[in-house]
């Protein structure tokens, strides 16, 4: 019984077969961080202390770290959903940005609507991201156009247009930031762990993770989606309407990105700032890959990612580390984190 539970949990979370393997990776990554700190920082001890302990040292940093993970969770869920259906959504950044923009603008427009306005704005944001991704899915369904490339191109184009809209017609004249007007006070999510930026969007992220998990593993549509992703010919053979599983998962994927963008606005920023999403798409992809596209594993993966990010930020705040050094440290962690050879260390070895 115990053993079975253990196995189920591992499958569930995508934990590598051997805990030793993960320890080895962690250890090498740590060693690399140590080495780099001594090479690149004049006060290595201080750097390391803030890198590792900084994000956890008080509720403010802890809250901000958790807050960093929120859009990551939504976006990584988005990547995973598409990936589970065998589609590659590389345009997350534009979908997130576009979704956030539409959500913000409509929230401003629907200022008097109360709670209905909040819901409408968030839904519109999600739909925006979804439609962008679904467009690429549609192209693939219709003409086998490679969605990896079309999502990327469309995202780049849309980001530029949204950038124009933010800096142009929708810019808030009252601010010198390049940003839209702020959403009404009543629309903003409540903060938890003040004074940090963490908002109740975290709860939404956790709920959404469970929803996506249940969708994938407990619904008929999720079953069909997974089967299509595992083997499209098998799905088609089994009478699953294959075209819709090129479009629907992309729509959901884009919608989750859009939702992530909306959450960042409603929980943290309150206005859509130009280029605020830069890098989020790639980071989400990294999180999803680390979690191997398992929804529930995304939470620890996103926390790990946010921890590394906040650690680097913290070292920058309190030590002589600059952001380029932080990016080197991050890259070293990425190099190692998915290594299946290192993960396999400690599993049964061949004799002789």
């Amino acid at each position: 019984m115990n053993d079975r539970m253990d196995r189920r949990w591992k499958r569930f979370l995508g934990v590598p077969r051997s805990a030793l393997g993960s320890l080895v990776i962690l250890f090498i990554a740590l060693a690399a961080v140590f080495l780099l700190s001594f090479l690149l920082s004049k006060t290595p001890a201080r750097t390391l202390r803030y890198f590792f302990i900084g994000p956890l040292q008080n509720t403010y940093y802890l809250g901000n770290m958790l807050n960093t993970s929120i859009p990551l969770i939504f976006s990584a869920l988005g990547v995973s959903l598409a990936m589970r259906a065998g589609s590659f959504n590389l345009g997350g950044e534009g979908q997130l940005y576009g979704g956030a923009f539409i959500a913000t603008v409509s929230a401003v427009a629907m200022a008097g609507w109360g709670i209905a306005g909040v819901i409408c704005a968030i839904v519109l944001g999600a739909v925006t991201g979804g439609v962008m991704a679904a467009f690429s899915g549609y192209l693939r369904m219709k003409w086998q156009t490679n969605e990896l490339i079309t999502t990327f191109l469309l995202s780049n184009a849309v980001s530029l247009v949204v950038g124009y809209l933010i800096a142009g017609p929708f810019m808030d004249p009252a601010t010198n930031l390049i940003a839209t007007r702020k959403i009404p006070e009543s629309f903003r999510f409540s903060r938890i762990l003040e004074p940090s930026n963490l908002s109740s969007a975290l709860v939404m992220a956790l709920v959404m993770t469970v929803v996506v998990h249940l969708y994938l593993y407990r619904t008929k549509s999720g079953y069909e989606l997974r089967m299509y992703g595992l083997n499209p010919r098998f799905a088609r053979y089994g009478g699953i309407n294959s075209g819709s599983y090129l479009v629907l998962p992309m729509f959901l994927s884009g919608a989750l990105y859009g939702l992530g963008g909306a959450m960042a606005i409603f929980g943290t920023y309150y206005a859509c700032m130009k280029d605020f999403s830069v890098g989020m798409g790639w980071n989400a992809l990294a999180v999803a890959l680390i979690a191997r596209f398992r929804p529930v594993a995304i939470i620890p993966a996103a926390l790990f990612f946010a921890y590394i990010e906040s650690g680097a930020r913290n070292a920058m705040l309190h030590s002589d580390v600059t952001f380029e050094i932080a990016s080197i440290v991050q890259s070293v962690v990425f190099f190692l984190v998915t290594s299946s050879v290192l993960q396999r260390i400690g599993t049964k070895r061949e004799r002789g």
Binding site: L40, N146, I149, T150, L153, A157, F334, T338, V341, L342
Partner: protein
């Protein structure tokens, strides 16, 4: 119009070179998203070595070596430690952007733009007979040697991929890995070399960017590696296709440069043109390919 075509060819050159490098990894069965980072590394190291050695040729050669070192790291982690190639590619891009700045600070005490006064401009070559041809002449004559080098390399890579044992085996690694294994050949070995080849081409692509300016600007590649990846797919993974696809993008970019002056449209809209144009080209290509495979009804 002539200026536009001329400019399109100049813009396409780094894309073509990087795409060419990426073609090797792509054909060997690896999605190489590290083109951006490799290009950046090449851009930095070739101008630094040009400055230190005083010779552009040595500079580019040493730049290639440095970029290959980075690619070796990428290849070892990906192939020997069996990490996810997408994540390691991202890591390479991160590393390259951090490393170039750190090195620039260590070497020149400057994290920003490093101007190398000693490096003159690239020569422009006029091709004697070709330059007299009406449109084509303006398009392909009067470029820097790198432009012509890229065409020579394209021909060379086409030859390597389709005429040599190495190419035959490399493509087999991407098409049917097990075939190679069954013949006692290692797909990893060919992929390793493919990574080195893409480092080689990306280094030159990067060198074009910096030697053209005589300066290094952090992040000077600004997304060209990603566009190169698009070029590979749009070019249907064939050398000549790459030429066409990079020209499409080069032309769209040159056109958007021109359009900013000519049209009274917000600049950001015009900056989106190359992406939308390439998207359109991508769709047209796939409609055509799909039509050929359709069942008559």
């Amino acid at each position: 119009m002539n200026a536009l075509l001329h400019s399109a060819v100049a813009i396409m050159t780094p894309l073509l070179l990087a795409a060419m490098g990426g073609l090797f990894t792509e054909l060997s069965g690896m999605l190489n998203i590290a083109l951006e980072g490799l290009m950046l590394m090449g851009a930095f190291s070739s101008i630094v070595f040009t400055y230190l050695s005083g010779s552009m040729i040595w500079g580019v050669l040493l730049g290639i070596v440095a970029t290959m070192l980075l690619a070796t790291l990428l290849a070892v982690v990906t192939l020997n430690l069996k990490s996810n190639v997408f994540i390691t590619g991202l890591a390479t891009n991160l590393l390259a952007s951090g490393l170039t700045i750190v090195l620039s600070f260590r070497l020149f005490g400057n994290k920003g733009v490093v101007v190398f006064d000693r490096i003159g401009s690239l020569p422009r070559w006029d091709i004697p007979l070709v330059s007299d041809i009406p449109v084509l002449g303006a398009m392909i004559s009067g470029h820097s040697p790198f432009v012509y080098l890229s065409w020579v390399l394209l021909a060379l890579s086409s030859w390597v991929l389709y005429k040599t044992p190495f190419g035959l085996r490399l493509r087999a690694a991407g098409l049917h890995e097990k075939t190679l294994v069954s013949l006692g050949l290692s797909p990893s070995a060919y992929r390793f070399i493919a990574f080195l080849v893409s480092a080689f081409a990306c280094a030159i692509a990067g060198a074009v960017l910096t030697l053209n300016l005589g300066a290094f600007v952090p992040n000077i590649t600004s997304g060209k590696g990603w566009i190169a990846l698009v070029v590979i797919f749009l070019g249907q993974k064939k050398p000549l296709g790459l030429l066409g696809a990079s020209l499409v993008f080069g032309f769209a970019d040159a056109f958007s440069n021109y359009a900013q002056g000519a049209w009274n449209v917000p600049a950001d809209f015009i900056l989106a043109i190359p992406y939308l144009f390439t998207l359109l080209a991508m769709v047209i290509v796939s409609i055509h390919a799909d039509w050929k495979e359709r069942i008559k009804r």
